[in-house]
Every structure is written in structure tokens, then in C-alpha cells.
């Protein structure tokens, strides 16, 4: 018998994945004005940056741009905050878990909103330069690659694994939950900003781009913290896990039923022993 699956954890995961589904649904089936790339696409041929920025803001209110950014972050980040959120909830009194969660999410969300206030104008400016999509994407991909192999990226990734002691009582508990949200958000922004910027620059296949970026970022978090160096890094562990599962599945199929029955019998006899 395996013990350890708490009801609270199930509820938390259901809420996080529910948020993801709602956000993806809004992006996929919404009016189409929820993500920045779509908004910026018509501006690609413009030359005068100031005028074009004013035009973008006139046609799309800051509120609409912020909403698009919120949807994007809500679609991509909930699975990534599952572990730090579990840390907050596990270390809080049961009656304070909702409050601690709200404060953590507020801190985390605040840093991402600040990041959006910087990344979205950058994306608008890149679009407004009038560069063809391919050169601007290639340039952004180079920035992503340079950041991806840098020691600074590893430092931020390491900070994402930080789990501080949290106060349990009163205002100190509230402060710690909020500050932990802020620091996790800052580490997450530091880790993900380049890939998020690249996602913003895609004017077509946005869902595919966002989905790929989300899987990449999620897989990257499964990697252990390590010393910061210049090196190629990515979701190696996730790739190995998927490859191992695939290999097992294919090996099982190729062995056929006879072998699998023999294996089952040996497992049953081993369990009896």
C-alpha cells in the first residue's frame, strides 16, 4: 500500500491544471486578440517606431495587452509553480493554506506582470522595426541560445529550486508567503524570459509555439541544480524518461504475449515470495 497522496495535493493540482485548461481554452477559442503576436502582426511593415507604438497602444488598450499577457502566463506557468506552491501549502496551517496560496500567487504574478511590461514593448518594437519575420525570429533564437548556454541562466534555474523556511504564524507567515512568491517569480522570469520573448514574436502557430515552450520549461525544471557554467542545457531528464518509456513499450510489443505472460508469472511469484 502506498501512502502519501494527500487530498490537499490533489485539489491543488486540479486547480492548477484547471487554470491551464481555462487559459488555453480562452486563447484557442477566444476572439483572437488575447496574445500579443496577433496584435502586433499588422505592424510589421511600419517604420516610425514612436508613431507605431502609439498606434499599437491606440488600437489595443494597455488593459487588453495586459489581459493577453495574463492569459499567456496563466496557460504556461501553473504546472511550473506546482512544487513551490506545495512547499507553501505543506508548511502552512490547513486553515491558512488558501491565504498563503493567494499571497504566493500574488507575489509570483506581480513579477510576471512586471516582466510583461518590459517584454511586451520589446516584442512590439521588434515587430515595428519592419524586419521580415524570419530575421527577427532568427535574432531572437540567437538571444535564446546565448542565454540558454550561459552560467547566468543556471544561477536562475538553481534559485527556482530554493525552498526557504516559512513562518507559520500571523503577519510573518503572510510576509514569507508573499516574499517567496516574489523571489520564485523573479527566478522564474530570469529562467524563462528569453523563451517567452521568442513565443511573443511568433505571429503564426502561436499555440504550438506556446505548447512547445511550456513543455521545454517544465522539463527544464526537472533537472537538478548544478554549478553555473557555459554549457548546452535543456530538459535532458525528461527526454531520457520519455525515451525509456518508449523503449519499454516497443520492447514489450516486440517480445509478444508469450514472453509478457512469462514476465507476469515471474512477477506474481516474486510478489508471493
Amino acid at each position: 500500500m502506498i501512502r502519501g497522496v494527500s487530498t490537499d495535493r490533489c485539489v491543488m493540482l486540479a486547480a492548477l491544471w484547471g487554470t491551464v485548461l481555462v487559459a488555453w481554452g480562452a486563447i484557442a477559442f477566444g476572439s483572437g486578440t488575447v496574445t500579443l503576436p496577433w496584435l502586433c502582426a499588422p505592424m510589421a511593415s511600419a517604420r516610425d517606431l514612436t508613431a507605431e507604438l502609439q498606434l499599437v497602444l491606440a488600437l489595443n488598450s494597455p488593459g487588453a495587452l495586459a489581459m493577453g499577457w495574463i492569459l499567456m502566463v496563466s496557460a504556461m506557468m501553473p504546472p511550473i509553480i506546482a512544487e513551490p506552491l506545495r512547499h507553501v501549502r505543506d508548511r502552512s496551517f490547513a486553515r491558512r493554506r488558501g491565504r498563503a496560496t493567494a499571497l504566493f500567487v500574488a507575489g509570483y504574478g506581480a513579477t510576471w506582470m512586471l516582466a510583461g511590461a518590459i517584454l511586451s514593448p520589446v516584442a512590439i518594437v521588434v515587430h515595428s522595426t519592419g524586419l521580415e519575420p524570419f530575421p527577427s525570429l532568427a535574432l531572437a533564437a540567437l538571444v535564446v541560445l546565448a542565454w540558454q548556454v550561459s552560467p547566468a541562466k543556471q544561477r536562475f534555474l538553481n534559485r527556482c529550486h530554493h525552498r526557504p523556511a516559512l513562518a507559520a504564524f500571523g503577519a510573518a507567515a503572510d510576509r514569507d508567503s508573499f516574499v517567496f512568491g516574489l523571489t520564485q517569480g523573479a527566478s522564474c522570469v530570469g529562467t524563462c524570459w528569453a523563451i517567452m520573448l521568442l513565443s511573443l514574436l511568433f505571429t503564426s502557430n502561436q499555440l504550438l509555439t506556446m505548447g512547445t515552450a511550456e513543455l521545454f520549461l517544465l522539463g527544464e525544471r526537472l533537472e537538478r541544480p548544478t554549478s553555473p557554467k557555459w554549457r548546452l542545457r535543456g530538459p535532458n531528464k525528461s527526454i531520457r524518461m520519455v525515451a525509456a518509456q518508449l523503449y519499454q513499450h516497443l520492447a514489450h510489443q516486440s517480445r509478444g504475449n508469450t514472453t509478457s505472460n512469462t514476465v507476469k508469472k515471474s512477477i506474481v511469484s516474486a510478489e508471493r515470495r
Binding site: M1, I2, R3, G4, V5, S6, T7, C10, D90, R91, S92, F93, A94, R95, R155, N158, R159, H161, H162, R163, P164, A165, L166, A167, A168, F169, A172, R224, P225, T226, S227, P228
Partner: protein
């Protein structure tokens, strides 16, 4: 078979504990509501209805010295050598591996180590003696050998959890 379990925080101390010399002390404040749940299961305990289990967590234990061993005592009488009261001993922890776990750029991201000691028997004894009425537990950390300041031993938080059945 996977079963659900009811685990929740019962109490915690309010400050980081730094261990230097022969002993460090801290107070774990218990939450009245959660303590009420625990005492209810202790009162109703029988062969068929087991009481809650209780655990002492030493969270974010950091140091630059792997060699220390600490004995952990709960509610040991004041002014007396806790070693004379084995009934108060929650357990011993060895800080092997804590130096690497404390490195910010290491595999543990500088979180240190977390130790969990079961203290169900001690809580049961405190309940039977009527001492669980107090809203706090006095925790004493006693190293086998005196610890120098250079070892930089710290415990981020000491907390108590109950696990229901």
C-alpha cells in the same frame, strides 16, 4: 493501493535556531485547533482507532561541517541534563552531507537538509501526564560534542506535523 492521508502542520517555532557550544533551545508553539484534533484522537484511542501520528521536522538544516551529531529532546526538565531523561529524547540526527546540501550552487540549491523524527510516543506520554495542555513544546538540541561557531549550524525552522488515519 494508494490511500489518501491527512497531514497538517500542528506547530512551529518562530525563528532560525543557531547551534553553538553545548546546546540550543527553541520553543515550538502549537496551534490550538489542530492540537484539539490530536487530543481528540488520543482520548478516543483504542486497538481499532489508532491515534494520530506526530512528527518533528527540522527544516533547512545548514552547516559547513558534516561531522556533528545532535540529540533532540522534547520537554526535558529545566536545569537537568537531558541525557538523564531518555523518555524525552525524540531521536538523533547526523549532519552527514549537510555541507554539500548547504551550497547555493549545489544539487540541493542551498536548502540544506530536512530531518523528520517521529514523536508520537512522546506526545502520547505528554497527553497522559496532562502536559499537552500547554500550547508549546520546549525543544533542546544537544550535540554529542560541543560545536564551534565556525561550523555555522543553523536550523531554518522546527515544526510539528500530525498525520491522521
Amino acid at each position: 493501493m494508494v490511500t489518501s492521508r491527512d497531514v497538517e502542520l500542528l506547530g512551529a517555532n518562530t525563528e532560525t535556531v543557531r547551534l553553538v557550544g553545548h546546546e540550543a533551545r527553541t520553543t515550538v508553539v502549537l496551534d490550538n485547533t489542530v492540537k484539539g484534533k490530536l487530543t481528540a484522537t488520543l482520548r478516543a484511542a483504542s486497538e481499532r482507532a489508532l491515534p494520530d501520528r506526530v512528527f518533528l521536522n527540522l527544516e533547512n538544516v545548514r552547516s559547513v561541517n558534516d561531522a556533528a551529531v545532535l540529540n533532540v529532546y522534547i520537554n526535558a526538565p529545566e536545569g537537568e541534563d537531558p541525557a538523564r531523561h531518555p523518555e524525552c529524547k525524540a531521536g538523533s540526527i547526523a549532519l552527514f552531507g549537510v555541507r554539500k546540501a548547504s551550497l547555493t550552487e549545489g544539487e540541493h540549491a542551498g536548502n540544506g537538509l530536512t530531518f523528520v523524527l517521529e514523536i508520537s510516543t512522546i506526545m502520547d506520554r505528554l497527553h497522559l501526564s496532562g502536559a499537552l495542555g500547554a500550547d508549546q513544546l520546549k525543544v533542546r538540541l544537544v550535540p554529542r560534542n560541543p560545536v564551534s561557531e565556525a561550523a555555522q549550524i543553523s536550523i531554518g525552522r522546527i515544526s510539528v506535523f500530525r498525520e491522521g488515519h
